[in-house]
Symmetry: C2
């Protein structure tokens, strides 16, 4: 793991960019004592520098003392696009514009993303946990599809916050039963691109007995800010 | 309003019993400065002294500085039972034991309870708001059926937390559309006596755009304690 930039932000948070092999990432920390770590997963077309992601990461670090990390997965953010990925995005736009079903297209590019992203998260986790300022335990917060596989496969994940806005491949809908750590599941009640009943079924499927659903009004991007604090308190309860 | 007892509890909260005409109640306060008021509504067979209700009221007062009040409705708690009410309870027990539908029986005694409880809450509110240590604004927290009517009819209610475990009469399922204050709706995912889909439909029906659903695992009485704090923070956001 190589740190490529470092700056102290006005909220006192230290923001460092890093690379780990091909993986580019950012680490936000607010102190030198070993802190719990939150991995923020982002989805689809987003970038680890997306403004709401950064605001959330800095808030967790500044206000709650968590260490927070985000990485760009293959074909996302700072990493080169693949021809197959670009084709799938074009197919998706065309199908959405035509009002055609999109599940098949989403399955074709989210499922491979999960397959590549989860090993990269585990490699990143190895490197992050070797830093003296990160003590664990570890939580995951963000994109559901990658998070389900990671929480099911990686015993160092102690709690998971999932955002229900985003396609969840068939395999992860099954793997949800293997998620046995505490879960906070965040749903936008009128998310344009996501079926509400499918999200409620997924909540029902998680294998843990300690799961909470938070649903708020509005569309995909309308999650109220107070959910960031609710998420931080969820992690504070479970990352001890 | 006549105070009939007063004691300072070990958490510093002042607990006063009162009567207002036929209505017996309890008021919990933690200071002399005008505080927001939370009305705690309880249901069915419960008493204003029920242990979880009292723990919640004292926590709101001690930790968040809210004034909190609970009253016993006609036929509940300290008040005389009616023959009709006792008959309905006996019918309910018999129907439940026989595995028969209970909606009709519940409708027959919850609907009249709403009709009598709401005017009593409004009278109680008049009296409480005349006390110097209560400044408003006012929130309602508890039984859904009474709370919907109260929040729809009473402009002094600024936010409402509803517990989805309990029968909601047909009239209140309609009146839910008239609830336009912020709502926090608390659902036990596997509540034995309450239909999950009906609860989700009710959440969908509330007329406010500022509503949040919190669902947790387990049965009717299994609401986790952290929801008490979540509720307090919901009120702190809206009772200003």
């Amino acid at each position: 793991m190589r740190f490529t930039s470092e700056q102290r932000l006005d909220d006192g948070v230290l923001e460092r960019e890093f690379t780990l092999g091909d993986i580019p990432g950012i680490l936000w920390t607010s102190g030198s004592a070993p802190a719990p770590l939150i991995l923020i997963g982002h989805n689809g077309g987003l970038h680890k520098r997306e403004s709401r992601l950064v605001a959330r990461a800095r808030h967790y670090a500044a206000r709650y003392g968590h260490a927070v990390a985000a990485i760009d997965h293959p074909g996302h953010g700072d990493r080169p696009r693949s021809a197959a990925g670009e084709q799938a995005r074009a197919d998706l736009r065309r199908a959405m514009a035509a009002g055609e079903p999109v599940d098949g297209i989403l399955e074709s590019f989210v499922a491979p993303l999960v397959d590549t992203a989860v090993p990269e998260w585990r490699t990143t986790l190895d490197a992050l946990l070797s830093l003296p300022e990160i003590g664990g335990p570890v939580g995951y917060s963000g994109m559901t599809a990658v998070g389900i596989r990671l929480a099911a496969a990686e015993p160092r994940i102690s709690a998971a916050g999932f955002f229900a806005g985003g396609y969840v491949p068939r395999a992860q809908r099954e793997e949800a039963r293997q998620v046995t750590v505490p879960v906070l599941f965040l749903l936008q009640w009128d998310d344009e691109g996501n079926d509400r009943q499918r999200a409620l079924d997924l909540f029902d499927a998680f294998g843990t007995e300690e799961k909470t659903l938070h649903a708020n009004m509005g569309g995909h991007a309308g999650t109220p800010w107070f959910e960031v604090d609710d998420g931080a308190r969820f992690f504070a309860r479970h990352l001890k």
